[in-house]
Symmetry: C2
Subunit: 149 residues, 2 copies
């Protein structure tokens, strides 16, 4: 049984979800504690994988990209692990989420602003996914909120 996290861990993570580039000194000030205590906790959260990743949310429009969210429904018994391994290597696939429910895989791709190119990419993707039943496509026009903790 893995250790549960406490309220202090959660406070650190909530601050980092708003700004993951904040330094130890600022974190310590916000939490009214010492740099040492903050750095020790943060290292633990990283080491144990409770914080899986520090990353950025870009403005896709400014990057000149189209951001497409694709929800995949798989046939019963489709080899999910194998599909994920295949998709993981694809540079244009930026997000892969494994799920149960309406979709069993959610994939985000980023492609140049060229609908022919996007069509090609989605066609390529659909051929790569063994046991694909159907998929739904949404073009993300804005990420209004993103704070996972």
């Amino acid at each position: 049984m893995k250790k549960k996290i406490d309220k202090f861990d959660l406070q650190i993570m909530k601050i980092l979800a708003k700004n993951s580039r904040i330094n130890y000194r600022q974190l310590a000030e916000l939490l009214n504690t010492t740099r040492q205590r903050v750095s020790r906790r943060l290292e633990k959260l990283e080491r144990e994988g409770i914080i899986k990743k520090y990353t950025i949310i870009p403005d896709f429009d400014r990057l000149g990209y189209t951001y497409v969210a694709i929800g995949l429904s798989l046939k019963p018994g489709a080899p999910v692990d194998k599909i994920i391994e295949t998709l993981k290597e694809d540079e244009e696939i930026k997000v892969i989420q494994r799920a149960i429910g309406y979709h069993q895989l959610i994939v985000h791709i980023v492609a140049p602003k060229n609908m022919k190119e996007i069509e090609r990419k989605i066609h390529e993707l659909s051929k790569k996914v063994e046991g694909l039943e159907s998929y739904d496509i949404s073009f993300v026009t804005d990420i209004v909120k993103f704070e996972l903790v």
Copy 2:
């Protein structure tokens, strides 16, 4: 017309998408340039909003939470801006994506591991969204990949 970003900007952002806590010195080393050049560029990317946010991806299981992705289909003419304003304030709604296509809104919620509680939350959400046609629910079991640049 806003300035386009160049290859150096993109290199910086790709590194930050993998680890947004990397410091100027490390960034400069990786890019074989000076700290000054890196910090100047990064400040520009932040100021112009090309980097919208620095954030973290947590392990939801370890946090004791269930992560639910809900794709919303709205009736034609539904007041998307107003809906977003209402949902934004909700602490349990962690991600809001505006979209066109199959879904017009994609919302991620994080709730305790209690199906009754999740049912209540989704019910509450569906009542808040004016002009909701239908919604699809997927329970995200793992974020396998997340690098938006």
